[in-house]
Symmetry: C2
Subunit: 350 residues, 2 copies
Amino acid sequence: MPDEMRRIVLASRPSGAPALDNFRLETAPIPEPGGGEILVKVLWLSLDPYMRGRMDASKSYAAAVEVGGTMEGGAVAEVIRSNNPKFIIGDIVNAQFGWTTHAVHTGQGVRKIDPALAPISTAVGVLGMPGLTAYVGLLDHGRPQPGETLVVSAATGAVGSVVGQLGKIHGLRVVGVAGGAEKCAYAVEELGFDACLDHRAAPDAKALRAELAAACPGGVDIYYENVGGKTLEAVYPLINVGGRIPVCGMISWYNLGGLGMGAVDGPDRLPKLWRTVLVNRLSVRGFIVTDHYDRFPAFLSEVPGHIRDGRLKYRETIAEGLDAAPEAFLALLKGGNFGKQLVRVAAENA
Amino acid sequence: MPDEMRRIVLASRPSGAPALDNFRLETAPIPEPGGGEILVKVLWLSLDPYMRGRMDASKSYAAAVEVGGTMEGGAVAEVIRSNNPKFIIGDIVNAQFGWTTHAVHTGQGVRKIDPALAPISTAVGVLGMPGLTAYVGLLDHGRPQPGETLVVSAATGAVGSVVGQLGKIHGLRVVGVAGGAEKCAYAVEELGFDACLDHRAAPDAKALRAELAAACPGGVDIYYENVGGKTLEAVYPLINVGGRIPVCGMISWYNLGGLGMGAVDGPDRLPKLWRTVLVNRLSVRGFIVTDHYDRFPAFLSEVPGHIRDGRLKYRETIAEGLDAAPEAFLALLKGGNFGKQLVRVAAENA
């Protein structure tokens, strides 16, 4: 066991798109766990778009990361020392350990992972927070009925890919929107979507809307929102009376001043959207998965079976080593990942 | 009985705010009811903001009024001839008879009014569509919990005044937004609102927001939306986590090109609103009362009692004679009414 741990801290708050110099690698002695605490070695770090929000000082779901503080992040780790009777050395666990090689934790809210269920990296992916986010947003807020049409943005991402496949399992027509021909081909050929449109190939929202209209001849009943921006503008006028918009993210707007809170050049798109909400009696529902952990048992009773049956596939993009996390995160914000973005912080069974 | 009837037709579609020359008064012989039909004499015509939408060709809830067609509108009328066994001469009835002195109708969907229950004009007001709109929007979509804070715009209008008073009856702190000091005084002194803010006295949304923040020390849990525009911009950043926005109307935006569908100068307010929906997990629900007529029995079992008990008050602004309808409607769109805007088309018991 090395004597030093490494962690990545927020060096400064970004203005607009984050850059590498907003992060700093630090080393420190590996701490001793106190009474009732555990020491873990991180194996897999999850990178997720929500982390962009934690870099800003403005109000979001949760407190911002302090400048100089360790970047927040979910991780899969191995217990290497334990003063807590609930955990033994060798346990594989999941919690928000952060962008770090090692962490001391009280054990509260730490979830034990069963390595027999699936590869342990899935505990921060298809069987973890992104999978549950997909499940709650689609089933609870989207309220799908067989035969309806679902459009999902960021369609090959960790959340979107599960949304679309669950949509197919629940009898929907599923149309994805993703960035690039390769992702779109994957969504249709591997994930079984009925269609997937490349927003990068569409010159503007109007062009993308025309493609969506052709791919959704019965209109759109559910728009699972991950991105905002051009895709939102393209899809909302196509939503049928009684349609639902679970709002899970808005990644294309995360770098607007103060997470979208600054002034943005016009035209003002709000009146049109508001009118569509009114006239088509839409239901728009923002949500965050941490409000819905009570759905974890239902989720875990359904989704692992779909994976075993081959009806629900997942893909991982893996960055090697904690040092690679900032660059991988910046790429994620630009859509450079394919499926779930992970960092292999340490080898399993090493 | 006169031999001629009068009606007001849509002479031309407005571009922007409607004007008197968009309407035309026509006369015609009073028609004979056919087999199974009734002939009614209109007593009270209701004027409502939704009618602005019917004047445009663009898609709305319902079909547009054709140019040359009679303006649509709900009315209370007296049956003066009947070839329908369900109706007798003298029955007081309510249906969408239109802006007209007389109408022939099949009787389908025509609701008989009990004059003993309340003044018959309330059948298009507090005990009719506006009252049901308030009831469904607040109780079903707003899901109020005692102790929560409700903000309602167009607070002294036919809908808003019922929303606020129902809010008080259901244990909410109620803050209205209305146009002018007189309306605000009425909301507080007569209707029992906890506070009412004059949006005309606030130079901009930011100033109005500061006043709202002071009037809502616990934040806002429900924003009952009737107006859009400056009031929406002022209130939504104050909405608490888990807040609800029943979207009933957006009168301040109705005159934007094509009912808000044209381009509007920036800044673009959509990213900020969308972010608030996400971060504060808001539920935004557009609705139209015609989808919710199944709630009429529950509404009629509760609300007349509140009126009899003096807990729910209403006020009417009455224009005299069908000819006065266009001018009264234009004033309504500018907030010139006080409470329910009616046209006395013919005297009761005349």
